[in-house]
């Protein structure tokens, strides 16, 4: 899983390392570290924002290790949605009940509609919308796309999908590898 957390460490040498060490000890993979020294702060502490991948079952242990190292956790969030796919829909979107379309996709449980931007055209002209699907797995996006295609057929909507994307970046595993 990917999580982001905000930590508070004392603003003195070696403190940041103290916060990062338990992560690598537990096999986590740090993706980004942002630390800011607030010039107005008088608390003598430093806020650090870290994004990392770690196994779900190791998370509790990480929290304990950090506590032991005198690092306080201000906030911790699971970054649930790693995979995004944006598609464009064209058709009588309003007329065919857009919120029903969104609900049907959300109801699959495999992905949800993260963003929807619609452009209103002249009356009786088809509407165009950009829809971003979010899921924590490629499988989830694939399932949501199957649902969306079903809905599109039923409501006579045109889905424009990205060229690179689901089922596209696959590698069938028969690539020839050469070690020398």
């Amino acid at each position: 899983m990917q999580i982001s957390m905000k930590l508070e460490v004392t603003d003195s040498p070696g403190q940041l390392v103290k916060a990062l060490k338990p992560i690598s000890d537990l096999g986590g993979n740090i993706r980004s570290v942002i630390h800011e020294r607030d010039p107005l702060s008088t608390s003598g502490t430093l806020d650090v924002e870290i994004t990392l991948d770690i196994q779900r079952q190791k998370l509790e242990q990480l929290k304990e290790e950090l506590k032991k190292s005198d690092v306080s956790i201000v906030r911790i969030d699971e970054e649930r949605y790693l995979i995004r796919k944006s598609v464009i829909l064209i058709g009588h979107l309003i007329h065919t009940d857009m919120s029903d379309t969104v609900e049907q996709i959300d109801a699959t449980g495999s992905a949800e509609v993260g963003e929807l931007s619609m452009i209103m055209p002249a009356i009786n002209e088809p509407t165009s919308a950009k829809m971003i699907l979010k899921s924590d797995s490629i499988q989830g996006i694939t399932e949501a796309m199957i649902k969306l295609r079903e809905i599109a057929k039923e409501k006579n909507l045109l889905i424009v999908e990205p060229l690179e994307g689901e089922g596209f970046n696959f590698d069938s595993g028969d690539n020839i590898t050469w070690t020398d």
């Binding site: 452009i119 165009s128 950009k130 045109l158 060229l163 069938s172 690539n175």
Partner: protein, 331 residues
């Protein structure tokens, strides 16, 4: 064989372009017969091309109304029949019969006509093999781009996993204009018509059928499949909106009509797709662009003109010279 003798059926944009190139360039090719829809002309020693072109321009006829395509196929002296009559995607006729008649007479055939190749490639190839002659059709897909040669010969030994790209210049022109100049679909289509890029009935192009036929040809000729037009999942651009393209542009993307053969799943599809604006397949105006995804060579992309008189004739010339080199002296 010192000189390759050819007979041309169809004397329109492609046929005339071909004749002009042969008259202009010293390619070792002579034309012994030409036919259009109403007339024909034969001279087994080689026609005076300039004279025939002039006659066609003045009278609308290339020759004598008593000389039919059938007569040319059966009686003229030629090594290769060049079949460049109009495409009929439903029946392949009359081209199909012309090609069969020439092959059964043991003559090589070169065509730019998608109909017969999309409908009956297997049986035509079998006929050619049985009669020990060559059947070549480079010009049927993507005009000037030597896509068939590249896939059959240039990338020989590779496993082809996917072939995908822009196969229809008219749709690409419309989408380019909608994207770059913010034209509406209707305005862009009108412009394409005025410039002669779209037929007065543009159905085949905008509904994605033309691109689909080209996929069928590639699938059957290059990949050895047995596909028909019904096997292609087709979505055209006739419902495209400028708002949709605007939404894509907001993200640095645009929309193009992409034909795709997935060789591993054996599926064929044509649909408008979202691509980054700087994607290699986002080519301008009437250009075509095709990527082959292979196991050894990786991705190979070819870009060029998909139509036009000389451009299409270029592909025909290449087929003719291939026959000259590989089948020379047999006849």
């Amino acid at each position: 064989m010192d000189r390759l003798k050819i007979a041309i059926l169809g004397f329109g944009s492609v046929g005339k372009g071909l004749a002009k190139i042969i008259a202009d360039k010293n390619l070792g090719i002579i034309i012994t017969a030409i036919a259009d829809s109403k007339s024909g002309i034969i001279d087994n020693k080689g026609l005076n091309v300039a004279k025939v072109l002039l006659a066609k321009k003045k009278t609308g006829l290339c020759g004598d109304t008593s000389i039919t395509p059938q007569k040319i196929i059966e009686t003229a002296e030629y090594d290769v029949l060049v079949e460049v009559t109009p495409t009929n995607a439903a029946t392949g006729q009359p081209a199909l019969d012309y090609i069969k008649a020439a092959l059964s007479r043991g003559k090589n055939v070169v065509t730019s006509n998608k109909g017969p190749i999309a409908l009956e490639f297997k049986s035509l190839q079998k006929m050619a093999d049985e009669n020990n002659c060559l059947l070549k059709y480079e010009a049927t897909v993507c005009g000037a781009i030597p896509i068939i040669h590249a896939l059959q010969h240039g990338l020989a030994g590779n496993k082809i996993k996917k072939i995908y790209g822009v196969f229809n210049g008219t749709c690409n022109y419309i989408l380019t204009r909608m994207s770059d100049e913010k034209l509406t679909y209707k305005q862009a289509l009108l412009e394409a018509r005025e410039l002669g890029y779209a037929e007065s009935d543009p159905t085949y192009d905008i509904k994605g059928i033309d691109a689909a036929i080209k996929l069928v040809i590639l699938a059957n000729t290059v990949l050895g499949f047995d596909k028909t037009l019904d096997d292609v999942e087709i979505t055209g651009i006739d419902n495209m909106s400028s708002d949709a393209i605007g939404l894509a542009l907001e993200d640095g993307k645009t929309i193009r009509l992409i034909g795709e053969i997935d060789a591993e799943r054996e599926t064929l599809s044509v649909a408008p797709r979202i691509l980054p604006k700087n994607h290699i397949l986002v080519v301008k105006d009437t250009l075509n662009a095709v990527t082959a995804r292979t196991d050894l060579a990786g991705d190979v992309t070819l870009i060029g003109k998909g139509a036009g008189s000389f451009e299409t004739a270029s592909a025909i010339i290449s087929d003719l010279l291939y026959i000259k080199e590989n089948h020379g002296g047999r006849n």
